[in-house]
Structures are given as structure tokens and as C-alpha cells.
Symmetry: C2
Subunit: 195 residues, 2 copies
DNA sequence: AGTTTCAGATGACGTTGTCATCTCTTGAGT
DNA sequence: ACTCAAGAGATGACAACGTCATCTGAAACT
């Protein structure tokens, strides 16, 4: 037996799923409220019962993606058999893989909309906190923030460049995201040894 | 006396300027063909005489931005009084400054549209080639490609994070783009000394 | 049982990108 | 000098979109 609240929550989830699927398959232009409603089994006006805006629906999709990434980061940090450097590499590659296999979702995760400029940043906070803790295990509390910011920035840039098709250019000797990530982690790990 | 071809070229330029201004001031949503036409002194259908598509107009705006950045890179490389590290810092900050003061244009420069996935990448080539030459002066031909790719990736990520308002977070100890850039350049310069 | 509430459906409106068509000026060919 | 093709721009129209106002029906509450 399904209550009304349960049904409403189910539709909300169906709307989020539909929006995410349309985003993955057809890009941002394919995410129209009419298509989202149709895929979720409702009509074009129904989303307005759950989200005040189309933008809010997209923010919710991005927020959910940040949450699942936060879960992965948390699990990665708790992994017992991995060194700190390996965990860092894993975290960065988790981010980069989203850029590879869900490029449109990736862009959404890093696009702060004019509506609420801090909504997505708040959603990203847990992922970043988890990552920061792992970095602190490698370089110490002192420089953790600086190097964590540098690592996340670089991974973000690598993913972004790869998404715009500028990274696999043979002009750059075929460097790939894995190479760059390894180089960066090695440099920082070496730096921490010298300190 | 203005010939017909000159007049057409002038309108084309006016359309590009109008689109760039609207993009800077109001974001991508403000760039509508009607508004572009109005600002350029023509009507909504006129752009179709110069660009097959709205997307093509935007690509042309991004291409022009890459060209001017390429000019700046070239001038920077020829600057006599600067060290290689300073030139690298300058090049990276030139890119980051676009992200700071023209964030919408910056996003456009790194968004490869579905129409021609290589159009913007081709436009970016000269900037990257100039930058690659400067990096080679610092770390040698051997590792230039790898480190140039890493530097550009990182700068791109720093600018992107700053544009989404996730960098100036006090949670990260107030690290700013300049700090990260300096840290990165120092690390690579140090690495090259050890080799 | 009667009433309130709320998810969803439906109709309508303004805006946008795009196409078809029309006008008119320019520049070349005779 | 006259003609005429060419092309830049204006205008009208259309489908699709986001959004709002209104309506309907069923669940929840008193």
C-alpha cells in the first residue's frame, strides 16, 4: 500500500532519474521539462510540484551526484589496504572518471547557477572534506589545505581538458589523465619527503 | 566610401562584438540572436547571413578570444627581461584572469560544441604551442610536453574552481589562484633542477 | 460525511531559434 | 547607360520551450 507522500517521493525520484538519464544521453539541451515529465510518466507541468524551477531540478541532479561521489570518497578513505598516495590517486581518478563517462553531468557539478551560487558548493563540501583528510595523511596537517586545493584543481582541469578533447592530442606526446595524475601525486609526495 | 564587402565585414564584426558583450554582461542566456541583432543595429534574421547557426556565432566568439590570448602568449614569450618561470607564471595568470573577469567567455572557450568538436581546439593550438616553447626553456625538450599539459590543466582547473566559487572558501585556508600557481611552478622548477 | 489539501492534467502566453519569402541596394556584364 | 544577378537585410510564420493560472480528482483530516 502506497501512501500519498510515498507516491510523491517516488515521482520526485523518477524526475531526478529521468533528468539525469537525459543529461547523460543527450546533453543539457535534451533535458527539457516536457521530456523529463514524459520519461517519468507525468506531464510537463508536474515537475513544478517538486521543484520551483527547471534550474532547481538541475541543481538537485548535481547535488545527488556530489553526494554519491562523497560516499565513494568516504569508502576509499576507510579502505585499509591502500597507502595515502594510492587513496589520493583513487579519489582524483574517481572525479576524472565522471568527466570521462558522464561529461555533461560533470559540467553540471561544477557550474554554479545564478539562482543559488552556493548550492552546488555546499553539496561538494563532503567530498572535499574526505579528500582533505587523505591528503593530510600524506603531507601533514600543515600543508594539507594548500595541496588538496592544488590536487582537486588539477584533477578538475585535467577532466575539463579531456572533456573538451584537448588532452588526447598527439601534439602533447599522448599524455593521458593517468599520467598527469601520477606525475602530480609523485611530485607532492616527493616534496613532502623533503620537508 | 564603403564597398558592400566592407559593410558586410563590419556587420559581421559588430555581431561578434555584440555577442561577446552580451555574454560578458548577462551570461550565455542573455545571448539571444534577437538581442545580438538589436545591439549590432540589425534585426533578428541578419546573423544568418554571416553564420549558419547560433552555435557557429558562439564558436566564432570563442575562437577570437583564443586568438587574442595567443597574441598575448606570443608577446610574453618574446619579452626579454623575464625568466622562463616568470613567463610561465604570466601565461597561466593570463588564462586565469580571463576566467576571473570574463567567466562566461572562459567557459565558452573550453566548451567543445557538438557541431564541430575540434573547432575550438584548433583555435587554442597557437596559445598552447607558444606556452609549450616557454616550458621547454625551463624543463628542457624532454619533459616539456608532459609538464606543459600539467600546467595548463592545473590552470584550467584553478580558473574553473574559482569561477564556481569553490576556491576562495576559507575552509581551504584562503588559498588563492596566485598561491596555487606559484606552488605548482616552484615544484616543477625544483624538479627540473634535480634532473 | 464533509472539508481541506495537494499531485497531477490541461490550456494559454511570451520568448526563442530557425526557415521562407520579400525588398532593395550594390556591382558586374553587355 | 541599361540590365540583371547576387546578396544583405527585413519581415512573417512556425514549432518548441519554460512558466503560470486554472481545473480535477483522490487521499488525509476533523
Amino acid at each position: 500500500m502506497i501512501s500519498r507522500a510515498e507516491s510523491a517521493a517516488a515521482t520526485r525520484r523518477a524526475l531526478l532519474d529521468a533528468a539525469a538519464e537525459l543529461l547523460d544521453s543527450g546533453g543539457l539541451d535534451a533535458v527539457t521539462l516536457r521530456a523529463v515529465g514524459a520519461r517519468a510518466g507525468v506531464t510537463r507541468g508536474a515537475p513544478y510540484r517538486h521543484f520551483p524551477d527547471k534550474e532547481s531540478l538541475l541543481i538537485a541532479v548535481g547535488t545527488r551526484a556530489w553526494d554519491t561521489l562523497g560516499d565513494r570518497m568516504q569508502a576509499l578513505r576507510a579502505e585499509p589496504g591502500l597507502s595515502a598516495a594510492e587513496k589520493i590517486r583513487g579519489g582524483l581518478m574517481a572525479l576524472i572518471d565522471i568527466g570521462r563517462f558522464q561529461p555533461h553531468l560533470y559540467k553540471l557539478m561544477f557550474s554554479n547557477p545564478p539562482g543559488d551560487p552556493t548550492a552546488l558548493a555546499r553539496a561538494a563540501q563532503r567530498s572535499q572534506t574526505e579528500f582533505l583528510a587523505v591528503v593530510a595523511d600524506l603531507v601533514g596537517e600543515q600543508d594539507a589545505r594548500r595541496y588538496a586545493a592544488l590536487l582537486i584543481s588539477s584533477a578538475n582541469g585535467i577532466a575539463g581538458l579531456e572533456a573538451s578533447g584537448q588532452l588526447p592530442d598527439p601534439k602533447w606526446g599522448g599524455v593521458c589523465a593517468e599520467d598527469l595524475t601520477d606525475t602530480l601525486v609523485d611530485m607532492i609526495a616527493g616534496k613532502s619527503r623533503h620537508a
